[in-house]
């Protein structure tokens, strides 16, 4: 049964995706590959300050800022998961419009058999991209 809450979820998803992409376009990607989010007045990464190593989320905003400018290789180097998340965010726009148009609940997607598998794969990729960046840093320092 499609109700008002389902419509709100679809509108919320559409607005969030557009908002994230608009902010990514407005931000100037940091040349060092991380720290772009500080342009929004947000604090620098404390994990990076304490350990001098990037956290798994470091470079996500930079990756989005590069990807929206169609600089996909730089986006990949900043954070491979960021590029994946960027395409995920872009794909949310037509999906949300389709859900609104066909009056389909977003729960039908999240309760589907494959959605949990996609979440697991995305989580694994998130940590794998962190390992990739740590290895890249190690390689660059030698």
């Amino acid at each position: 049964m499609y109700d008002r809450a389902d419509k709100s979820v679809a509108v919320g998803l559409l607005a969030s995706a557009c908002g994230v992409l608009a902010v990514a376009l407005w931000l100037k990607p940091a040349a060092c590959g991380y720290g772009t989010h500080t342009q929004l007045g947000l604090p620098p990464c404390y994990f990076l300050l304490v350990t001098h190593l990037p956290c798994p989320s470091c470079g996500l905003t930079t990756s989005f800022a590069y990807a929206i400018r169609l600089q996909f290789w730089k986006a990949f180097l900043a954070n491979p998961f960021g590029l994946f998340a960027f395409f995920g965010t872009v794909s949310v726009i037509p999906t949300a419009i389709y859900l609104l148009w066909r009056r389909i609940s977003f729960r039908r997607i999240t309760e589907g058999a494959h959605f949990t598998k996609v979440v697991y794969v995305a989580t694994a990729f998130y940590f794998m991209s962190w390992i990739f960046r740590l290895a890249l840093m190690q390689f660059a320092s030698h």
Binding site: G41, L42, P43, Y46, F47, S57, T116, V119, Y126
Partner: protein, 81 residues
């Protein structure tokens, strides 16, 4: 303990230490999935208390992240005056 709960617990710990927003949201989703399965009686073998621990751990991780950002922005605002 279900696989979703195990993952959610790990992600909750990660959310507390470094990656609050990303792992926190995923952890909440996975823990809630197990909680719903248990509530619907589809997975009586799962441990509800552990699923709840995982769920609240992720919420705490996310909340700490938001509080940290608010505190930083509040202090930065105060410094301007």
């Amino acid at each position: 303990m279900g696989d979703n709960t195990k993952w959610a617990l790990g992600l909750g710990i990660a959310a507390l230490f470094c990656c609050g927003p990303v792992t926190g949201v995923i952890g909440i989703f996975l823990a809630k999935k197990d909680m719903d399965e248990i509530a619907a009686g589809r997975a009586p073998q799962l441990d509800e208390s552990m699923a709840k621990v995982a769920f609240y751990l992720n919420i705490i991780g996310l909340a700490l992240f938001v509080v940290g950002i608010c505190a930083y922005m509040g202090l930065a605002g105060l410094r301007r005056f």
